[in-house]
């Protein structure tokens, strides 16, 4: 009856939670996006480079770079500000004045015709409306107050870049802007990507520091919160994260929080963006991460602990974290097993408690006799495979009760495998730290000699 009650309660609660989450999601999906700056006009879907680095642009113009190049136009002839630019935020798009040198524009005459062979002067020769059709001023303006064409919008890139420095070292425009002179329209999709930067920024020809190009926080870490109206409109998270293109395993996918061991091989790389505390929050933290340990993990953890999946010790020191909780919650060895101060009537006390933690045959047979030879249910296999589980309740004294050479403690079952004395493991352990040996063996005893 009780089981049915909590099951129905849980089902109702789960339904409410999912409905609430779905409702919030549906409601917010139709809401207008949050903005942190003025939204650009009709952001372009971002193929090519990341919209976080080069946010979406609006280019309501027709322009054929290749044709202009064939006619003798040079990069610096139109992009006059480029060679002197020191920051990436500079607007290097040529204005109307740059066009007027060849295109005899007359704002009072938007349909002006020019002789064949000269640069067009009509508005719709270059400007287009949001639908992509040639743009002309509305008829109502009647030449009195010329209407402005849709503006070109190039949000500032989230990068550091010094055109002047690169130009001063003799690097031509085409080295980075490889597509510019060879195709008609050039968009953000043709802007240089990180791979082309790394061709020179390899730590030898030029610095390979991430912070040399990426924006940084005051403490030198990369600025990763790059949410702007443009980046949000492009459908991104606004968060600069590794895609995996640089190191493969660094891709911050849906399983990264659980599976980042390979990425963590190089701590310096992680610390490019993360603070040291980001590691400590999980690896030694005090707040249960719910995506790693679900609700009421205390009940569930018995399965993971026995199997050691994931490796519990990557976040918990077993002899403090596990032992402390087990002692306090009554899941520990009997007080007489060497832990004074534990609650006197521990329900899981070895053999004397009202509940039995280990299955029958773990250490003693049905008659209460200590098991001398391993059995399928006995503790020897578990101890060999994952003694860390044992450590969460027991201390070395528990083992020494039966596995010591001192007969006054109890049985003297050897924990060493066959022919241990002749093994390299014996010699290495004995030569490097004989203190461990002396917990079971007497000082000066013959067993301490691995070559006996």
């Amino acid at each position: 009856m009780k089981r049915k009650r909590w099951l129905s309660r849980a089902a109702v609660a789960a339904t409410i939670a999912f409905a609430a989450a779905a409702g919030v999601a549906a409601g917010l999906a139709s809401a207008s996006p949050a903005t942190t700056e003025a939204a650009p006009v009709a952001p372009v879907a971002p193929p090519g480079p990341s919209p976080l680095i080069y946010p979406g642009e609006s280019l309501p113009i027709r322009f054929d770079h290749a044709r202009h190049a064939r006619l003798g136009a040079t990069c610096e002839g139109c992009h006059t500000a480029a060679a002197g630019s020191t920051v990436a935020a500079d607007n290097l798009i040529p204005g109307e004045a740059a066009c007027r040198g060849c295109h005899k524009i007359d704002r009072a005459n938007p349909t002006k015709t020019v002789p064949a062979g000269q640069g067009a002067a009509r508005c719709d020769a270059c400007h287009v409306d949001p639908a992509g059709h040639g743009w002309m001023p509305p008829a109502s303006s009647n030449g009195q107050t010329p209407a402005e064409p849709p503006p070109v919008v190039m949000p500032r890139p989230n990068l550091k870049f010094n055109h002047r420095l690169h130009a001063s070292r003799g690097l031509g425009c085409a080295l980075c802007h490889t597509a510019a002179a060879g195709q008609a329209m050039v968009t953000r999709a043709d802007l240089p990507m990180m791979a082309s930067c790394l061709a020179c920024h390899d730590g030898k020809q030029a610095t390979a520091r991430c912070a040399a190009c990426h924006l940084t926080e005051p403490d030198g870490r990369l600025r990763v919160q790059l949410a702007t109206a443009a980046t949000i409109a492009a459908g991104g998270t606004g968060l600069l994260e590794p895609s995996g293109s640089l190191r493969g395993f660094d891709a911050h996918g849906p399983t990264f929080r659980r599976d980042h061991a390979q990425a963590g091989r190089d701590e310096r790389y992680c610390l490019t963006c993360h603070r040291r505390n980001d590691c400590i929050d999980c690896h030694g933290g005090v707040v249960r991460p719910p995506d790693i340990h679900p609700a009421d993990y205390v009940s569930l953890h018995v399965v993971d602990a026995r199997r050691n999946v994931p490796d519990c010790s990557s976040c918990h020191r077993l002899q403090t974290f596990c032992v402390g909780c087990h002692q306090r919650t009554g899941v520990s060895a009997d007080p007489s097993g060497g832990q004074p101060g534990v609650r006197a009537s521990n329900p899981f006390g070895t053999g004397t408690g009202v509940k039995q933690f280990h299955p029958p045959g773990w250490a003693r047979d049905a008659a209460g006799v200590v098991i001398a030879a391993p059995r399928p249910n006995s503790h020897s296999t578990a101890a060999k495979r994952n003694i860390r589980t044992c450590v969460s309740c027991h201390r070395e004294e528990s083992c020494l009760t039966c596995h010591s050479t001192d007969p006054t403690r109890g049985p003297t079952f050897s924990p060493h495998g066959p022919n241990f004395a002749g093994t390299a493991r014996c010699r290495f352990l004995s030569s490097r730290n004989q203190r461990a040996c002396l917990k079971c063996h007497a000082i000066g005893s013959a067993e301490l000699d691995c070559d006996r």
């Binding site: 849906p254 009940s299 999946v309 495979r385 290495f428």
Partner: protein
């Protein structure tokens, strides 16, 4: 005294005023109240109330020194200081009746003050040297440690870096030291608390060296490292060794990358203390298409402990994992994954019983759960600048027991300063060691709800409530409140 003052005045006068320090202070106060399942002396389930207050104080000072030191690209002679301190205090009834004396556990102290790390560092000093002085934490694929001392990295050339470290290991028994970094294997008083001092409270010197090969952004890198920790014998008796090695290992980690398509990475550790390869990891990640990835992993791990521990003798088993995962990026910011694993516990030479009623039988294979475990999980996550939602399901079985469950989470920005979050969890589990009908199996459903609000520049409040129902109780409550304060100067 006068001379000291004079020297101080001269130094202050000589220091250029163009120094541009950046200070960052991060203060986090975390309050938690939750119930822990325990067992009353008569064997009944009981819920213990735990109240915790944790205070983090992080201080970072960067860009120490005049800008002129930093060179053309701003990357030279960077000096900084980084520190984190934590006070973790426990209230409520959880600690009542906790063990005392030799059985006391550091985790059951009413309050614990730790300096997690505090070091002064330099990067690219003279274009060659990186260093850190103080309490520091380091990790790589096969190692994770903390020590008080110095760590130096000399970039001999673009391809070669040599490293050296020296100091003392951070152990929980030392003042202001967290036990989380100490080697497992010996607990306080394990040498017989009645008569012998605690070996763990002795300072443990640590030294290490490494060679790293490969350019910073190169297609292939490798690092060969050696590290040793040792300690003098506390209260040494005649016939006992003067010192003992607590840890000694040689490790090699390496990675190679080909055209952003294929990455291979791995590490191997030779534990000199036991003459054994105790950690082997190898992983391959392949970008199948611009939206699909597959990862294959192989892990081998043999449990090893502090050199003072007798468990190094008992724990002769090892396990080997094979894992595979597949990720795909779907339209509209959704990513999905599927992963699976198989774990094989290797047989030890003495697992075939030579005596007793099971003589001649492989008791390792015949025991609960056998010698294998396996599992799978799959899920999908959607993220945008306004929030996230994800759903996961998992199953695993074999040695250890069975788990089957799922989890759904959502978090959204409702209005500019406010985020709401919700989570629903349900699972069933069964331990392979317990018989049915006892405490070895159960079903749990849990709900979480809460939110985060930005109270002002750099000030955030995070509230979270959780209630669980399951086999063992009709309600288990958990509450969390966190106030974060970030300030920079």
């Amino acid at each position: 005294m006068r001379q000291a003052i004079l020297v101080g005045v001269v130094i202050c006068a000589a220091v250029p005023r163009a120094f541009a320090y950046d200070f960052a202070v991060d203060l986090r106060t975390i309050g938690q109240g939750y119930q822990v399942r325990g067992f009353a002396p008569d064997g009944r389930n009981e819920l213990l109330s735990r109240r915790r207050l944790t205070q983090y104080l992080d201080l970072a000072v960067s860009d120490i020194g005049p800008s002129a030191w930093h060179g053309d690209d701003g990357g030279r002679n960077l000096f900084f200081f980084d520190a984190s301190m934590r006070l973790d205090a426990d209230f409520g009834g959880y600690l009542l009746g906790a063990p005392t004396g030799a059985a006391a556990s550091p985790e059951l102290k009413q309050s614990q003050l730790d300096i997690l790390y505090a070091y002064f560092g330099g990067r690219n000093v003279g274009g060659r040297l990186d260093f850190q002085l103080g309490r520091q934490i380091h990790f790589d694929l096969v190692d994770f440690y903390a020590f008080d001392g110095a760590d130096l990295q000399l970039h001999v050339s673009r391809l070669f870096t040599v490293e050296a470290l020296a100091g003392t290991e951070v152990r929980g028994e030392l003042p202001l030291s967290s036990p989380i970094y100490a080697l497992d294997g010996t607990s306080a008083g394990s040498r017989d608390p009645a008569t012998r001092p605690d070996q763990n409270s002795v300072l443990a010197p640590m030294a290490g060296a490494a060679i790293a090969v490969g350019p910073p952004s190169g297609a292939a890198t490798a690092r060969l490292a050696f590290r040793e920790v040792w300690s003098a014998t506390a209260d040494r008796l005649p016939g006992e060794p003067a010192s003992g090695v607590n840890f000694e290992a040689l490790s090699l980690t390496a990675a190679a990358h080909w055209r952003d398509r294929i990455t291979i990475s791995g590490g191997i550790r030779y534990n000199i203390l036991f003459d054994e390869l105790d950690d082997e990891q190898l992983a391959l990640r392949v970008k199948l298409t611009p939206r699909q990835w597959i990862t294959l992993e192989h892990d081998f791990l043999a449990p090893t402990f502090d050199g003072d521990s007798i468990w190094n003798v008992f724990a002769t088993g090892a396990y080997r994992d094979l894992r595979a995962s597949y990720e795909v990026a779907l339209p509209r910011g959704v990513k999905a994954y599927a992963r699976g694993f198989v774990r094989f516990f290797e047989a030890t030479p003495d697992e075939v019983a030579t005596a007793g009623p099971y003589a001649g039988q492989d008791v390792g294979a015949a025991g609960p759960g056998g010698r294998r475990a396996q599992g799978a999980s799959l899920g999908a996550a959607w993220r945008s600048a306004r929030g996230m939602a994800r759903a996961d399901a998992y199953w695993d079985d074999g040695y250890g027991g069975r788990k089957l469950g799922g989890d759904a989470t959502a978090r959204f920005k409702v209005r500019a300063p406010l985020e709401l979050e919700a989570r629903a969890t349900g699972y069933t589990w069964r331990s392979d060691l317990q018989t049915a009908g006892t405490t070895g199996e159960g079903v749990v459903f849990g709900l979480q709800g809460g939110g985060r609000v930005l109270l002002g520049p750099g000030v955030r409040l995070h509230l979270l409530l959780e209630d669980n129902v399951g086999t063992f109780y009709s309600s288990q409550f958990r509450g969390l409140a966190m106030v974060e304060l970030d300030a920079g100067l």
